[in-house]
C-alpha cells in the first residue's frame, strides 16, 4: 500500500529546472493567459546569477515565429528578470521559453530540453462575465464624454438601494479625507466635485452606514489621472517617460567561489520615450543608452523616431524591419525607412546599417619573409536596402513583392575579411477569410550571395582566364551586384530558393496550424542570419479548447530533413509528435496539464568514414497546481505545485548511451495577505541513469529540500514615501547544502519635479552565502540599485 501511495505521489510531481544546469532558476509558468491582458513573466534566479550576461524571452502564439524580448533585471531581494508580453498580442494560447546568455559565451534555456519544439504552453482563459454591481452605479467619471477639468466629478447612484436606506447614512471619502459634508447627497445618488484634480492616484470610497455606524454596503476605487492640464495647451501632445537604472555589485569570495577573482561590476541604462500627436499626426521617439555599449561589439544603444501621418509613416534610427520570414523578419536596421499607403497599395522601404564596423587587429608573422599578415576580429559596416510593394490589405488578401540588397562597406574596416554582397527577391501572399478564422499564406524568395567582394568584379579577361561564360558583362551590373568567383550559387537552382506556406484554421473550438518550409543550401539573406539553411519539412498542430477554454487538447507532428540536394555526405531526418492536455477550471479546484513528446533523429551517411546515428528521445511531463486561500496564522494565498518529468534519450544505432532523467518537484508558496511575508517551500529530486547495453549502468541522484522565508516590513511610510527593510533566509539541504542570508534596505518615493509623477527607488542589499559542504565556496555580495523614473 505504502509503495502504491509513493508511486502515486511520485506521479503527481513536476519539473521546471535541471540540476545539471549552471544557473539554477525558479519558474512556475502561469496557469493561463487572458485575452488582451498583458502577461508579466518573472524568472527568479536561485544560484549562479552572476554568470548571466543577458536573459531573453522567446514567445509566440499559434504557428507564428518566436518573438525575442530582452528581459529586464528586476529590483528586489532575490535576483530576477522580468518582462511583459503586451496584451494586444494575446488573443490565443502563448508558448514561450527563456534563453540565458552566460558570460562565458555559453547559453542555457528554460526549459532545458528542446525548448523550440517543447516550450512552456499557457492556454487562453476567457474572462468570466463580471456580475453587475447591484448596489452602486458609477455615473461619473465615465468614458462617454470628454470632460473639461471643471466638469470632473464623482457621481454615484444607489438607485436600487433607495428603499433600504431608512435609518442609514452615507459617507464619502476622497483621497482618504471625509468629504461627505462637501458632497450633495440625495436619497438615490450623490455628487461630489473636488475643487481641483491633480495628476496621480486619487482614492474614492463610498459607504452606507447602519445606525450603529457599521457598514451596510461600501465600494472603493482608485482614480489615476495620468496627464496634466498644462499639456493640453500644447498644440502637439507630449507623453513619455524617462527611466534611469544603475546597478553596482561588489563581490567578496573565498578561494573556490565563483566570485573569488571577480571585481566590482557596474551596469547602467537610461531610456527616454516620448510619444504623442495632434489630429492626424502621431510621433514616437526612443533613446536607450547602456553602459554595455562598446565600439568592440554590436550596438546596445538604440535611437528611434517614428512619425505617422495619413498615408505615410517614417522611421528614423533603429527600427526592426519586417518584410517576410525568409527575407527580413525583425532585424534591427539603423537608418531611415518609411511606409506609404494608398488604399490597397503599400510601399515599404528602408535603408540602413544592420551591422556596424568593429575595429579588428592585424597579426604579422615576422618569422616569414615576406611577412605573413592575417586580420582577425574586424567587422565591416553592413548596409541593407529593402523595398516592398504590397497590394491588398492585411485583413483580407494581399500580395507582397520584396527586394533586399545587403552589402558590406569594404572601406569601413581595414582588418576584416571576406566582405559580402547579397541580393534577395521574394514574393509573399496571405488570404484571410471568415474574420481571420481561416488564414492561408505562402512566400518564396531567392538569393545571390557573394562571399568575398574584395577582389572586385570579374572583368572580361578574368572570365576568359577562368573559362567562365556569362550572357552579360558583370561590370555592367556592378552597382547592383558584384559578380566574381565567390558568388553562390554560381547557377540559379532550387538550392538558392527559400519557401514557406502555412494554414491556420479556427473553427468549432478547433485551432489547426500547418506550416511547410524549404530553405535551400545556397539560400542566403544576410538580413536574416538565423534562418536555418538546407532544411525542409513541415509541422502540423491541432488544439481543441472546450468548456469555455477550461479544457484543452493538442496533438502535433513534425518532420524535417537537411541535405536537400545531396550535396553532403550525411542527411539528418528529424521526426516527432507531441500531445498535450490540460484542464484549467475557473472554480477553485486544481488544474492539471499533461504532455508527451517523442522525437527521432536519424543520420544517413553515404561516406564510410562517417558514422550514422539514430537517436530516440521521449519526454513526458505532468503538472498540477492548486491555489487556495488558507490561514496559517494569518490569511494567505497559497499555491501548491506538483510536477514530474521523465526524459529518455537512446542511441538506437550503436547503443552507446541510454539516458533516463527524472525530475520531481513539489512547491508551496504562501503569500500572506495581511503581513509583508512570503514563505516558499521547495522539494526536488533529480535522478539520472545512464544504461548503455555495452557498459555498466551509472546512476546519479540529487535530492534537495529548501525553505525560504522573506519578510519585508515598511519601516516608515508617509504619503507616497516609504522605506522598507527586508530579510530573506534560505536553507537548502540534501545534496546541495547551503544557507543564504539576504538583507535589503529600500527607499521608494513618488513625488513631483514636473507636474507629472516622478518615482525614485534605491535599494541596497547584502548577501552572505554559506556553503555547508565546502567553506571555500562561501562568498559575500553587496548590491546597490538606483532607479529613477520620470513620467511626462
Amino acid at each position: 500500500m505504502k509503495k502504491s501511495v509513493l508511486v502515486i505521489l511520485m506521479l503527481v510531481l513536476s519539473v521546471t529546472y535541471v540540476f545539471a544546469q549552471s544557473v539554477e532558476v525558479d519558474f512556475i509558468p502561469p496557469e493561463f493567459v487572458e485575452s488582451l491582458k498583458p502577461l508579466n513573466l518573472r524568472l527568479d534566479i536561485i544560484s549562479g546569477g552572476d554568470k548571466i550576461e543577458e536573459v531573453y524571452l522567446f514567445y509566440k502564439k499559434g504557428n507564428l515565429d518566436f518573438t525575442q524580448e530582452l528581459m529586464e533585471p528586476g529590483l528586489g531581494i532575490n535576483q530576477y528578470y522580468q518582462t511583459t508580453i503586451p496584451g494586444r498580442y494575446i488573443d490565443q494560447a502563448i508558448s514561450f521559453y527563456f534563453r540565458l546568455i552566460l558570460k562565458d559565451g555559453l547559453d542555457q534555456t528554460i526549459p532545458a530540453t528542446d525548448p523550440i519544439n517543447n516550450p512552456y504552453y499557457v492556454p487562453l482563459r476567457q474572462k468570466e462575465k463580471p456580475k453587475k454591481d447591484a448596489y452602486f452605479q458609477i455615473l461619473s467619471p465615465d468614458q462617454e464624454y470628454n470632460y473639461q477639468d471643471k466638469d470632473f466629478m464623482v457621481a454615484i447612484s444607489y438607485f436600487s438601494l433607495e428603499d433600504k436606506l431608512q435609518d442609514k447614512s452615507i459617507v464619502l471619502y476622497f483621497d482618504g479625507r471625509d468629504v461627505t459634508a462637501d458632497a450633495t447627497i440625495a436619497n438615490n445618488m450623490l455628487v461630489y466635485k473636488p475643487a481641483a484634480v491633480g495628476p496621480g492616484n486619487h482614492t474614492i470610497r463610498v459607504a452606507v452606514l447602519n445606525k450603529d455606524d457599521s457598514i451596510f454596503k461600501e465600494m472603493s476605487w482608485t482614480v489615476q489621472v495620468k496627464k496634466v492640464t498644462t499639456l493640453q495647451k500644447l498644440s502637439v501632445s507630449v507623453n513619455g517617460d524617462l527611466v534611469i537604472d544603475s546597478r553596482l555589485t561588489l563581490n567578496d569570495g573565498d578561494s573556490s567561489s565563483f566570485y573569488f577573482d571577480k571585481d566590482k561590476e557596474w551596469r547602467s541604462t537610461g531610456q527616454l520615450r516620448l510619444w504623442g500627436g495632434k489630429d492626424w499626426f502621431r510621433y514616437r521617439g526612443r533613446v536607450y543608452v547602456s553602459s554595455e555599449e562598446s565600439s568592440k561589439r554590436q550596438p546596445y544603444n538604440r535611437y528611434s523616431l517614428d512619425l505617422h501621418m495619413p498615408h505615410l509613416s517614417l522611421y528614423f534610427g533603429d527600427h526592426n524591419q519586417v518584410f517576410s520570414n525568409t527575407t527580413i523578419a525583425g532585424k534591427n536596421v539603423r537608418g531611415i525607412g518609411g511606409e506609404l499607403t494608398f488604399g490597397f497599395f503599400k510601399l515599404h522601404s528602408f535603408y540602413g546599417q544592420i551591422q556596424r564596423h568593429i575595429k579588428g587587429t592585424q597579426i604579422i608573422d615576422s618569422t616569414t619573409v615576406p611577412y605573413d599578415t592575417t586580420y582577425t576580429g574586424g567587422y565591416y559596416n553592413r548596409n541593407s536596402l529593402g523595398v516592398r510593394m504590397q497590394f491588398g490589405n492585411e485583413r483580407t488578401f494581399y500580395v507582397g513583392l520584396n527586394a533586399l540588397k545587403t552589402k558590406d562597406d569594404i572601406d569601413s574596416e581595414a582588418y576584416a575579411e571576406n566582405p559580402k554582397d547579397n541580393v534577395v527577391v521574394g514574393l509573399d501572399s496571405r488570404l484571410n477569410l471568415f474574420r481571420s478564422r481561416l488564414q492561408f499564406g505562402w512566400e518564396v524568395s531567392t538569393s545571390l550571395l557573394n562571399n568575398n567582394i574584395a577582389p572586385g568584379v570579374l572583368t572580361k579577361e578574368d572570365m576568359d582566364s577562368l573559362d567562365i561564360d556569362l550572357p552579360f558583362n558583370p561590370e555592367d551590373i556592378e552597382s547592383i551586384f558584384i559578380i566574381n568567383e565567390f558568388v553562390e550559387p554560381y547557377k540559379p537552382s532550387l538550392s538558392s530558393i527559400a519557401a514557406e506556406t502555412y494554414l491556420r484554421a479556427f473553427f468549432m473550438h478547433n485551432l489547426l496550424n500547418f506550416k511547410y518550409s524549404y530553405v535551400g543550401a545556397s539560400y542566403n539573406s544576410l538580413a536574416n542570419p538565423y534562418l536555418q539553411k538546407d532544411k525542409s519539412g513541415f509541422n502540423i498542430m491541432d488544439n481543441i479548447t472546450l468548456m469555455n477554454n477550461q479544457l484543452n487538447f493538442g496533438i502535433g507532428y513534425h518532420a524535417y530533413k537537411d541535405n536537400l540536394r545531396d550535396t553532403k555526405e550525411a542527411t539528418t531526418h528529424t521526426k516527432g509528435y507531441r500531445m498535450n492536455a490540460g484542464y484549467y477550471p475557473f472554480a477553485r479546484i486544481p488544474n492539471i496539464s499533461l504532455s508527451y513528446q517523442k522525437t527521432n533523429i536519424t543520420k544517413e551517411v553515404s561516406d564510410s568514414t562517417l558514422f550514422p546515428a539514430n537517436r530516440l528521445s521521449d519526454i513526458i511531463t505532468f503538472s498540477t497546481s492548486y491555489k487556495f486561500p488558507v490561514s496559517i496564522f494569518s490569511p494567505t494565498d497559497t499555491r501548491i505545485v506538483l510536477s514530474f518529468s521523465n526524459t529518455n534519450t537512446t542511441d538506437k544505432e550503436f547503443n552507446t548511451y541510454d539516458y533516463n532523467t527524472q525530475n520531481y518537484r513539489f512547491n508551496v508558496i504562501s503569500e500572506f495577505k495581511e503581513l509583508p511575508m512570503t514563505t516558499r517551500f521547495n522539494m526536488s529530486y533529480f535522478a539520472r541513469k545512464d544504461a548503455p547495453d555495452t557498459l555498466e549502468t551509472k546512476k546519479s541522484n540529487y535530492f534537495n529540500v529548501g525553505i525560504s522565508e522573506e519578510i519585508r516590513p515598511n519601516l516608515f511610510k508617509k504619503g507616497n514615501f516609504r522605506t522598507s527593510l527586508g530579510y530573506n533566509w534560505t536553507r537548502s539541504t540534501g545534496d546541495n547544502k547551503y544557507t543564504k542570508h539576504y538583507i535589503t534596505w529600500g527607499m521608494y518615493n513618488q513625488f513631483k519635479i514636473l507636474p507629472t509623477d516622478t518615482f525614485l527607488t534605491l535599494e541596497l542589499s547584502y548577501m552572505i552565502y554559506d556553503d555547508s559542504n565546502d567553506s571555500a565556496e562561501d562568498y559575500n555580495q553587496m548590491r546597490g540599485i538606483l532607479k529613477f523614473t520620470q513620467k511626462f
Partner: protein, 224 residues
C-alpha cells in the same frame, strides 16, 4: 370608529406625501454656456454636478450644451443650444421610465437596452425606443426630425407611426403620418455632429475598482 381610523390614515398619507423628499432623476455631467433650470416656478443657471429632479425644465442658450446621465444609468443625453427640455421620470420596480418633452431644439440620446422605457415627446410626435442612439430635432415650427445612429426608433404622430432604422431620418409634421428616408449629408448641423462624434484622447484616466466578486477591473476614461 373604522371611519376615524381611515381618516387618520388618509391624513398621515397626505402629510407624508407633502413632506416626501423628491427623488433625483439625473445629474448634469458636463455643461457649456448658459443652462437655465426651472423648478417649482423658480429659475437658476446650473452647471455640471447639478442634480435634476422629476419635472425639471432645462433651457439652453446660444452655444450651450448640457450632458446628462440618468440615475439608473439607463440613458445619457446631450441637450444642444437653443433647446427646451422637460424631464419626467417614474420608478417602476428597479427601473426608471423616462418621458422627456422636447419643446424645441436638439437632443441626442443613447439608451441602454434593458433599462426602463424611454420616450421623447415633441409638439408633433412621440419617439419611443429600447436601446439605441439617436438625435431628435424639433424645428421652430414644431416639425420633428429624428436621426437614428444605432437600433430602431418608433416615431409616431396622431395619424400614424414609422420605424426609423439606423442611418435613416424620420420626419414628423403636425397632422401627417411620419415618414422615413435615408439620412442625407449635412442634414445634421456641423456643430452637433462634431459634438456627437467627438472622441478626444487628450487625457486618459484609469479607474480600478473591485466588483462583487472581488476581482479588480479597470475603466479607462478619455477626457479633454
Amino acid at each position: 370608529m373604522k371611519k376615524l381610523v381611515f381618516l387618520i390614515l388618509l391624513a398621515v398619507l397626505f402629510v407624508s406625501l407633502l413632506f416626501a423628499e423628491a427623488n433625483p432623476a439625473a445629474v448634469i455631467l458636463q455643461s457649456k454656456g448658459v443652462i437655465e433650470l426651472s423648478r417649482d416656478g423658480e429659475k437658476k443657471n446650473v452647471s455640471s454636478g447639478e442634480i435634476l429632479y422629476n419635472g425639471d425644465e432645462l433651457v439652453s442658450s446660444e452655444e450651450s450644451i448640457a450632458a446628462i446621465r440618468f440615475v439608473d444609468d439607463g440613458a445619457i443625453i446631450k441637450l444642444f443650444s437653443n433647446s427646451i427640455l422637460t424631464i419626467i421620470t417614474t420608478k417602476v420596480e428597479n427601473k426608471l421610465d423616462k418621458q422627456l418633452y422636447l419643446e424645441v431644439g436638439e437632443l441626442w440620446s443613447k439608451v441602454k437596452k434593458e433599462s426602463g422605457a424611454y420616450q421623447i415627446e415633441t409638439p408633433t410626435a412621440v419617439a419611443a425606443v429600447k436601446g439605441t442612439d439617436f438625435l431628435t430635432e424639433v424645428k421652430d415650427n414644431g416639425d420633428t426630425w429624428l436621426f437614428t445612429f444605432e437600433g430602431v426608433v418608433e416615431l409616431k404622430t396622431d395619424v400614424g407611426s414609422v420605424e426609423v432604422s439606423k442611418g435613416s431620418t424620420g420626419i414628423a409634421v403636425s397632422g401627417s403620418a411620419p415618414i422615413q428616408r435615408k439620412t442625407e449629408k449635412d442634414e445634421i448641423k456641423e456643430g452637433v455632429r462634431k459634438e456627437i462624434e467627438q472622441v478626444v484622447e487628450t487625457n486618459v484616466m484609469e479607474i480600478e475598482f473591485k466588483d462583487a466578486n472581488g476581482e479588480t477591473k479597470t475603466m479607462k476614461i478619455y477626457y479633454k
